[in-house]
């Protein structure tokens, strides 16, 4: 992940013991409930094939893909809990914001998670699902504009982050190396 994608990381909130007991949830349970809520969400086999390392034990990678855009949900078991990364490539249509925010907000509410934005140190940790849209949209727009400036295009395509790099970045790097000094 990097300048091509916007990533929100969700981790379980610290809570009192009774609440913690209710929140003991495995990766497979979250996968099942996400797919039940959003039937369009499926396992992301393509992402797994492009990874640099073998998947971690118990890890799952999902993808939401419609005409609105594409985002990925990566679930990783960690120290008895589950950490969730949700990310989209900036080249996706801006319409992807809405389902992205819906999934982030739902995860926060359903599993009592808090969220932080990988790209920004100015956004405090999010604990209230009702504030996700108002907090994230300006940040998404800002980072998306940086991507568009860096790669010099406003073209919108439904792609994974790695595919966005392959399409918009790699050709420029290759061309640069072929350009005489």
């Amino acid at each position: 992940m990097g300048f091509e994608s916007y990533t929100v990381v969700l981790t379980p909130q610290r809570m009192t013991l009774p609440a913690a007991d209710r929140n003991v949830t495995g990766v497979q349970q979250i996968v099942g409930e996400l797919q039940q809520k959003w039937p369009v969400i499926r396992l992301d086999e393509e992402e797994l094939s492009s990874r640099s390392s073998p998947p971690a034990k118990g890890e799952a990678c999902l993808v939401y893909e419609t005409a609105q855009g594409l985002f990925q949900v990566l679930l990783t078991p960690s120290q008895g809990q589950v950490s969730v990364s949700v990310r989209f490539a900036y080249c996706n249509p801006r319409a992807v914001y809405r389902p992205f925010i819906e999934v982030v907000s739902w995860l926060m509410e359903r599993y009592r998670m808090q969220a932080y934005v990988m790209a920004s140190d100015s956004i405090p940790d999010l604990t209230d699902p009702r504030k996700v849209a108002a907090t994230l949209i300006p940040s998404m727009d800002y980072n998306r504009s940086l991507w568009q400036t860096d790669v010099r295009t406003t073209e919108e395509v439904v792609l994974r982050p790695a595919e966005a790099v392959e399409r918009f970045v790699s050709p420029r790097v290759l061309n640069a190396s072929l350009t005489p000094a």
Binding site: M1, G2, F3, E4, V9, S49, S50, R51, S52, S53, P54, A56, T76, S78, S83, Y116, V117, M118, A119, S120, D121, L146, T149, D150, A162, E163, V165, E166, V169, S170, R172, V173, N175, A176, S177
Partner: protein
């Protein structure tokens, strides 16, 4: 030496010539990558050549913060072929390594 939440990355990343543009790195991810690298299980560029590390002309990391930090922890050299040099400079502001939060 694995990183833990709240660590200062400055000592680890000093002298690399790489500058951060991301505010946060995930300790669990970095440590998992470092372990794979140290064990020789890491594929720097998969066969489909997706997911390269991308660094701009001034050394600002555009993509690959976790991998570059992990390489330092594992004390392995990142092959030059794994790094794509982006022409020009990204507009993304530099974050000093000691300001990058390890979570």
């Amino acid at each position: 030496m694995p990183v833990t939440t709240g660590d200062n990355l400055e000592p680890l990343m000093a002298g690399t010539g790489w500058f951060a543009t991301q505010a946060v790195v995930d300790a669990a991810k970095v440590n998992a990558y470092a372990e794979e690298m140290a064990q020789g299980n890491w594929t720097w560029l998969p066969l489909n050549r997706q997911n390269p590390i991308i660094v701009d002309q001034s050394g600002k990391i555009m993509s690959g913060h976790h991998r570059l930090v992990a390489a330092r922890i594992a004390d392995v050299v990142v092959p030059e072929a794994a790094i794509q040099r982006f022409p020009g400079m990204t507009l993304r502001p530099v974050k000093l390594w000691h300001d990058v939060r390890v979570r």
